[in-house]
Symmetry: C2
Subunit: 375 residues, 2 copies
């Protein structure tokens, strides 16, 4: 009897778990939000992930429930656990991914390096923080943000007055110092329920408009101390927060050569897509293995360099499929991954991975191939 993994959410992360699961002989079932989602091939149910009965019915007979996203409410997560369903990552870990204020407090408790931050309940408190931090700061809604949503750089609290107005009683916003960073890095870690973990090489990410646009593995000029520190941070957070499955830790590298934790994702993450074609064990296979508590795979690079470039938006006049022939013709070594999503400005509709010996050549090829898919 094959092992059964139930994935809540039918987006591209669920979609990209299908391929390695099929090869490993693991049956994947997806609870999709609607018909025709990215992971539709493996959809066995369509329904509302905020409804416990819907998720419980879906979870029947699976060996583990995991996720395409971090938005499943705590009461649903705990209802699953109470019903005896294995849930990875579990409610306690996801709690920190779902609330950035709780995450900051927990990381502080663990002694993790992070930007200066505060919980602010009103404009007075926010203005005070801004004044203390050079006249600018980053305000975040603690819940519901991703890909740049729920994040604003402000120089006056009035710029967040709508968010304060929308707060529940005794609610707070998160404010963080605007970090003077030289670049952004991301550290992927996988951890099993039984405790074993593996770390991937730290990567450099390039963000555009709050969205990951590129990842370079390994991060150039990071070998040695920087890579070790990143790996240690990843391990400490995975263990400290009890994360199971894949964890991505987004990091700032500061001008004074420190690493500060920016964001966390408790699932396969855009910054790890390179691993599909650049690592012995891709992050989607690793996530499946981890949540099933199977031994983890080798995270070594399969080539000196691997680069991922997102296809953002996609073509306006036609489709990704229409662009495929010219892209593949020009770049026979590029690995094109598409998500089965309609193009829309700024939307992540696919990515290109290239691996090889020469970083400049690899970057050029990945960017050039991805460029075929956008106007």
């Amino acid at each position: 009897m094959a092992l059964q993994v139930g994935i809540v959410g039918g987006g591209q992360l669920a979609r990209m778990m299908i391929a390695p699961a099929v090869e490993l002989g693991v049956d994947v079932r997806v609870l999709a939000e609607a018909d025709g989602m990215s992971a539709g091939l493996a959809a066995t149910a369509v329904g509302d992930y905020r409804d416990l009965d819907t998720v419980l019915a879906f979870a029947k007979d699976v060996d583990v429930i995991t996720f395409d996203h971090e938005h499943v409410p705590q009461d649903v997560l705990r209802g699953l656990v109470d019903a005896g369903v294995a849930v990875h990552p579990g409610p306690d870990a996801l709690f920190y991914a779902q609330d950035k204020l709780r995450m900051r407090a927990k990381l502080a408790e663990l002694g993790m390096p992070q930007p200066d931050w505060a919980a602010v309940a009103d404009v007075t408190a926010l203005d005070a923080f801004i004044a203390d931090h050079g006249g600018r700061a980053v305000v975040k809604t603690p819940r519901g943000g991703y890909d740049g949503k729920g994040v604003r750089v402000v120089s006056a609290a009035s710029e967040a007055s709508d968010w304060f107005a929308a707060l529940e009683p005794s609610g707070e916003l998160l404010v963080e110092e605007l970090v003077d960073f030289t670049r952004e890095l991301a550290q992927q870690v996988a951890r099993r329920p039984s405790g074993d973990f593996v770390v991937y090489p730290v990567v450099e990410t390039v963000q555009k408009g709050g969205v990951c646009a590129e990842a370079i593995a390994p991060a150039p000029h990071a070998a040695g101390r920087l890579a070790d520190v990143a790996a240690d941070i990843g391990e400490a957070i995975a263990v400290g927060l009890g994360v199971t499955g894949m964890l991505a830790v987004e990091l700032f590298e500061t001008t004074d050569e420190r690493l500060l934790v920016n964001e966390l994702a408790m699932r396969p993450h855009n910054s790890g897509h390179w691993s599909q074609d650049g690592a012995v064990t891709g992050q989607f296979e690793q996530h499946i293995r981890a949540v099933l508590d199977l031994p983890l795979g080798d995270t070594a690079l399969r080539a000196p360099w691997a680069v991922m470039v997102n296809i953002l938006g996609g073509p306006v006049s036609d489709s990704l499929a229409d662009r495929m022939p010219a892209a593949l013709e020009a770049h026979p070594g590029a690995k094109v991954h598409t998500y089965g999503k309609d193009p829309r400005p700024g939307r992540k509709v696919g990515h290109v991975n290239v691996a090889g010996d020469d970083l400049d050549a690899v970057c050029y090829e990945a960017r050039a191939a991805a460029a075929f898919f956008t106007d």
Copy 2:
């Protein structure tokens, strides 16, 4: 709109097309022989591939029909073409894969190096061939054989009398000289309907009981002339027989350093499974690209060596899933592929790929990992 590939047959070859198709954004549909087949995840129909109406109904709306096996009857293939369906490989090419006598005659016409052979209609003719070739020969039923079935080494025609008795009027058996070979090789080629083709590095295969047990890519000590000759043979056959999609040419390397064509397969083939994890473009992705007439991918190795070891039979007392934890624990760098099939003596139920820098280490790891899955 995503491109649609319809695959006739729900075995492991169809199953292994699913992963690369999903990533490339190609929708795969499978006409399975029964429920619960290897490629069941993508099955959209269950039915008899020998029935034209069944296959025509399945082929509605797909961009191309391709195959998990070569057993679809010519009248069904030609009925599809007559109905305007793109079929790759097409009936003319599959004709040679379906009838080994026709294949031998066509290869002779193309001047391909092959063992001495003859069409024999009775025991007298067969005994004469045996007498002319050192007292032993290989007799084959022209149709329906695979994995060692329909093949016998004989030293007297009486050993094939049951096959003669079963022949249709004016039917013939194929007899071939028993080649004195040092090893077996396999050459993979992919060819598009529009004519472009790519060749993979020639590989060494190890057969056990008529079944492929291992493949080593590239074939050791084959660089240069031997690899060039194998590639030329692959190209000449792909072009000469009008093959579209993947073609595997099984070759004997003789004691006097010639290459002789043994068998052909017009589909992804066991001897090419290494390419899933060892080549920039695996044979299953390549087949999808080729039959859709998309530009072909880079066939370069991703590591100096890649080795595939079949899981033959599988465990008796338990399941592949039961063996997975110990195998993955011991071999974190091994890529395990399973086919969703119940273990049965001699049955191909999965394979293990390993890639790396040192051939001995790679062979050892692939064999050791595969050994976890058999008794």
